[in-house]
C-alpha cells in the first residue's frame, strides 16, 4: 500500500479537464483523477486534493508539479515545486513511457500540439495558433448535436464502410458540411469517420505543417480516447499510432516527473502546503495598475487574507518576494 510511501503529485489544469496524478519512486502511476475544470480551477483543484486525502490519508507528498493553462494558479494554491509549461510536461511523460519516441501528437480540449523528439531530446514543437478546429471541444459539441455520447464517438466511426469527405478548414463549415451529408442520407458512422479525417487533415495543415513526423508516434490528450481519430491519424501518417494507457493524464504525469527530479536534484523539501489546502478559503482579486500606460491587469491570490502570489505585471513592481525561490515562477529548466 502506498499509504506510508512518499509519492509525487502532478496537477494539470487545462481548459476542459483538471487531472491529478500520483507517482511512486519507479515512475508508476498509483492514482489518477480526471475532473472537469468547468471554468473553476480553484475548487476543482481543492476537490482533487480532498479525494486524494480520502484515498490515502497517511501518505506523504515528496514533490508537486503543476502544468496546463492554469499552472500558475494551481501552483500558487498547492505550493508547487515546479510550474512547467504543458509542452515540456507532455514531452517528459512521453519519453518516460516510450524512451525512443520521435513524435508526440497531443490533442486536448482547446489546443493541439505536436512535439518532435530525437534521441530523447525535444528538437521542435508547434501549437495551434489561429484555429481550434479538431480539438476536443469541437468533437464534444458535434457529438452532442448528433445526440451520441462522446465516449461512443470513436467506436461508431470505426464501423464506417464508406467514409465521406467533410470540409475541415473551419469548424463552422465542417458543421454545415456534416449537416448537408446527413440530409443527403449518409450513415452516422460514415459521417463521424469523415469528421475524424477532416480533423486530422486540419491538424496536419495547422500544427503538423513542415514537421518531420517519424515513428514511434504517441497520441495523447483527451481526444486520444477517440478510436476514430486514432485510425484517421494512422491512415494519414501511414504508420502505427500508439496511445499510452495514461493518455488522458500525460501532462500531469510529466509535471509529477519533473517535480520529482527537481526536488531530488536540489535536495530541498517540498513547498507543498499540505492537503489542508482543500479546506482553506482562497481569494482572487484583480486590479488594473495605473502606474504606466500598459495598464496591466494584476491578479492577487491570497489564502485567508494572506497574499501568496501575484502576477500580471509587465514590470517587477508587483512581484511578491518568495522565500525559497531565487526566481519566483521562473520556468527555465535550471
Amino acid at each position: 500500500m502506498p499509504d506510508q510511501e512518499s509519492l509525487c503529485l502532478g496537477i494539470d489544469v487545462g481548459s476542459v479537464s483538471t487531472n491529478l496524478v500520483l507517482i511512486d519512486d519507479h515512475h508508476n502511476i498509483v492514482y489518477k483523477k480526471y475532473l472537469r475544470t468547468q471554468g473553476q480551477p480553484i475548487p476543482v483543484v481543492q476537490e482533487g486534493l480532498a479525494s486524494i486525502e480520502k484515498t490515502y490519508p497517511k501518505m506523504k507528498i515528496q514533490a508537486v508539479g503543476t502544468t496546463g493553462s492554469g499552472r500558475q494558479l494551481a501552483g500558487a494554491i498547492v505550493g508547487a515545486d515546479v510550474v512547467k509549461n504543458e509542452i515540456t510536461a507532455h514531452a517528459v511523460a512521453a519519453c518516460c513511457f516510450q524512451p525512443d519516441v520521435q513524435t508526440v501528437i497531443e490533442i486536448g480540449g482547446q489546443d493541439s500540439k505536436i512535439i518532435i523528439l530525437r534521441e530523447g531530446v525535444v528538437t521542435d514543437f508547434a501549437m495551434n495558433t489561429v484555429c481550434a478546429a479538431g480539438t476536443g471541444s469541437f468533437l464534444d459539441q458535434q457529438a452532442a448535436r448528433l445526440g451520441i455520447p462522446i465516449e461512443d464517438f470513436g467506436e461508431i466511426a470505426l464501423r464506417s464502410q464508406n467514409t465521406v469527405r467533410i470540409a475541415g478548414r473551419c469548424t463552422v463549415f465542417a458543421e454545415s458540411d456534416m449537416i448537408h451529408k446527413q440530409q443527403v442520407g449518409h450513415s452516422m458512422a460514415d459521417i463521424l469517420a469523415g469528421l475524424c479525417g477532416a480533423m486530422v487533415r486540419n491538424y496536419m495543415n495547422n500544427v503538423g505543417k513542415g514537421k518531420q513526423i517519424r515513428p514511434p508516434v504517441l497520441f495523447q490528450g483527451g481526444v486520444a480516447a477517440n478510436l476514430g481519430m486514432r485510425k484517421a491519424l494512422e491512415e494519414e501518417l501511414n504508420c502505427p499510432v500508439v496511445v499510452p494507457p495514461a493518455f488522458d493524464v500525460m501532462g500531469a504525469l510529466g509535471a509529477a516527473l519533473i517535480a520529482k527530479e527537481q526536488v531530488e536534484y536540489s535536495n530541498q523539501l517540498t513547498r507543498f502546503r499540505g492537503f489542508g489546502v482543500s479546506e482553506r478559503s482562497f481569494q482572487v482579486d484583480t486590479f488594473i495598475c495605473s502606474h504606466c500606460a500598459n495598464h496591466c491587469e494584476i491578479v492577487n491570490i491570497s489564502i485567508e487574507q494572506e497574499l501568496v502570489a501575484r502576477w500580471g505585471a509587465r514590470c517587477g513592481r508587483w512581484n511578491v518576494k518568495e522565500k525559497n525561490s531565487k526566481y519566483p515562477h521562473s520556468d527555465s529548466a535550471s
Binding site: 518516460c96 514590470c315 529548466a333
Partner: protein, 379 residues
C-alpha cells in the same frame, strides 16, 4: 504645427529630437497599449498587417493630444510597408480625421522627390541647424540601441526581476532629455555604469538566442508581447539581429549610394535564397545561419500575420535549422494573438534549448556535463 509619428520601440526618442530640431512641436503618441490596438483595428482593413493597425491607433491617440501632422516613411520593394503612408492617409480621410501627412520616400525612389520632401520639412530652419539636428538625431538612435543592447545582456543575469528594465527606462529618459551630443554621450555612460551595478547571479545557466524577423515586430515590444524582457527573465541573452540605427545605415544611407550592403552576411543566405524578397526576409535567413555559426543556442523568428517577406523566410528556415543544427521557433503575431500562448511557447522553447544544449555537450564530450546530475534524464 504639432507633428506626430508612429511608435517603433525606442525610436520616439530620436524622432522627437528630429522634429523639434527642424522647428516643430513633437507630439509623442502615448505608449502602445491594448487601447491603441483596439482603435487601430477598428479602422484598418482586417487583412492588413499588425504594424499598420498599431500605427493608426498611434495617430488617433496623438491627435487627441493635439497633433496636427504626421511624419511617416515611405518605401519601395515588395513589402506592403511602402503603401502604409498612403493607405493610412486615406483611412484617416475616410473617418474624417484632419491630420496632414508627410511621407518621406527613400532616395532610391528619386533624389529630387527626396530632397523636395526634406526641404519642405526643414523649411523653417537654416542649413547649420539641419546639420546639428541630424547629428543629434543620429546620436540618439545609436545611444538607444547601445543601451538596449546592454540591457539584453544584463537582464539574463539579473538577481532581482525588473532591475534591468528600470535602469533601461531611466537611462533612455536621460537620452530623451539630452539636448546636445555631449549630454547624449553622458547619458549612455551613466546608463552603462548603472547596468554594471545591477546585482547579478553569475552562476545562472544562461542561453544565447538570436531574434530575427520583421523589423516592426522586433523593435516594438508591445507588438511582440515584450518578448525580449520575457526571455531575459527566463535567463536568455537575446541577440536581436535588427537595429534601427543599422537599418538606417544599410537601407537608406548606403543603399542610396548603391553601396553593397552587408555582403558577407547575405552570402550565408545564398544556398537557400538568392535574391531580395522584400523587408528583412533575406536577412532573416542570413542571420539565422550567421547566429548558428557564432554558437547561439537557438533562434526566434517573429513576424506579423500575413507578412509576405517573412513567410518566404519561414518556409526556408526549417532547412537552415537542419543544416546548422539550430532550433528555430517561429512566432506569428496579430491582434488575435494571446499573450499566454506566446509565453507558453517561449517557456517550452527555453526548455528545449536547455535540453538540446545538454544533449549536445554530452554527445561531444561523451561524459556527463557540468559535473552535476542531469536535471531531466528522461527528457
Amino acid at each position: 504645427m504639432k507633428i506626430t509619428f508612429p511608435h517603433m520601440g525606442t525610436a520616439y526618442i530620436p524622432f522627437r529630437a528630429l522634429i523639434q530640431g527642424v522647428g516643430y512641436h513633437a507630439v509623442v503618441p502615448p505608449r502602445c497599449t491594448q487601447k491603441t490596438l483596439a482603435l487601430g483595428t477598428r479602422h484598418a482593413p482586417e487583412s492588413a498587417c499588425l504594424p499598420l493597425k498599431i500605427n493608426i491607433g498611434n495617430y488617433l491617440e496623438a491627435q487627441q493630444q493635439g497633433a496636427e501632422g504626421i511624419l511617416m516613411a515611405g518605401g519601395i520593394g515588395p513589402c506592403r510597408f511602402g503603401f502604409y503612408g498612403t493607405v493610412q492617409k486615406e483611412i484617416l480621410q475616410d473617418i474624417g480625421i484632419a491630420l496632414e501627412m508627410l511621407i518621406i520616400e527613400p532616395p532610391q525612389q528619386g533624389w529630387s522627390a527626396f530632397i523636395n520632401q526634406l526641404s519642405y520639412l526643414t523649411r523653417k530652419v537654416t542649413k547649420g541647424e539641419i546639420a546639428q539636428t541630424l547629428a543629434l538625431t543620429w546620436a540618439k538612435f545609436t545611444a538607444c540601441d547601445r543601451l538596449e543592447k546592454e540591457s539584453l545582456k544584463t537582464r539574463a543575469y539579473e538577481a532581482t526581476l525588473g532591475d534591468t528594465s528600470r535602469v533601461l527606462h531611466h537611462s533612455l529618459e536621460l537620452v530623451d532629455q539630452a539636448s546636445s551630443l555631449q549630454m547624449v554621450r553622458q547619458a549612455v555612460r551613466t546608463g552603462l555604469t548603472s547596468f554594471k551595478a545591477v546585482a547579478k547571479d553569475l552562476d545562472r545557466e544562461v542561453l544565447t538566442v538570436g531574434v530575427v524577423g520583421e523589423i516592426y515586430t522586433l523593435l516594438e515590444p508591445f507588438a511582440n508581447f515584450y518578448l525580449e524582457e520575457r526571455l531575459g527573465e527566463l535567463g536568455v541573452i537575446v541577440q536581436r539581429q535588427v537595429w534601427f540605427s543599422e537599418w538606417i545605415l544599410h537601407h537608406i544611407v548606403l543603399s542610396a549610394f548603391k553601396k553593397r550592403r552587408n555582403g558577407n552576411l547575405l552570402r550565408l543566405a545564398k544556398p537557400y535564397l538568392t535574391h531580395f524578397v522584400g523587408g528583412h526576409g533575406l536577412e532573416t535567413v542570413a542571420h539565422t545561419a550567421a547566429m548558428a555559426k557564432t554558437g547561439a543556442d537557438g533562434i526566434i523568428h517573429i513576424l506579423p500575420f500575413t507578412c509576405m517577406p517573412e513567410i518566404v523566410a519561414q518556409s526556408i528556415l526549417p532547412e537552415v535549422s537542419r543544416d546548422y543544427q539550430i532550433p528555430v521557433l517561429t512566432l506569428v503575431v496579430d491582434e488575435h494573438s494571446a499573450e499566454a500562448g506566446i509565453h507558453t511557447r517561449l517557456e517550452a522553447f527555453v526548455d528545449l534549448l536547455h535540453n538540446h544544449k545538454r544533449a549536445f555537450q554530452k554527445a561531444s564530450k561523451g561524459v556527463e556535463t557540468f559535473g552535476k546530475k542531469e536535471m531531466y534524464p528522461i527528457a
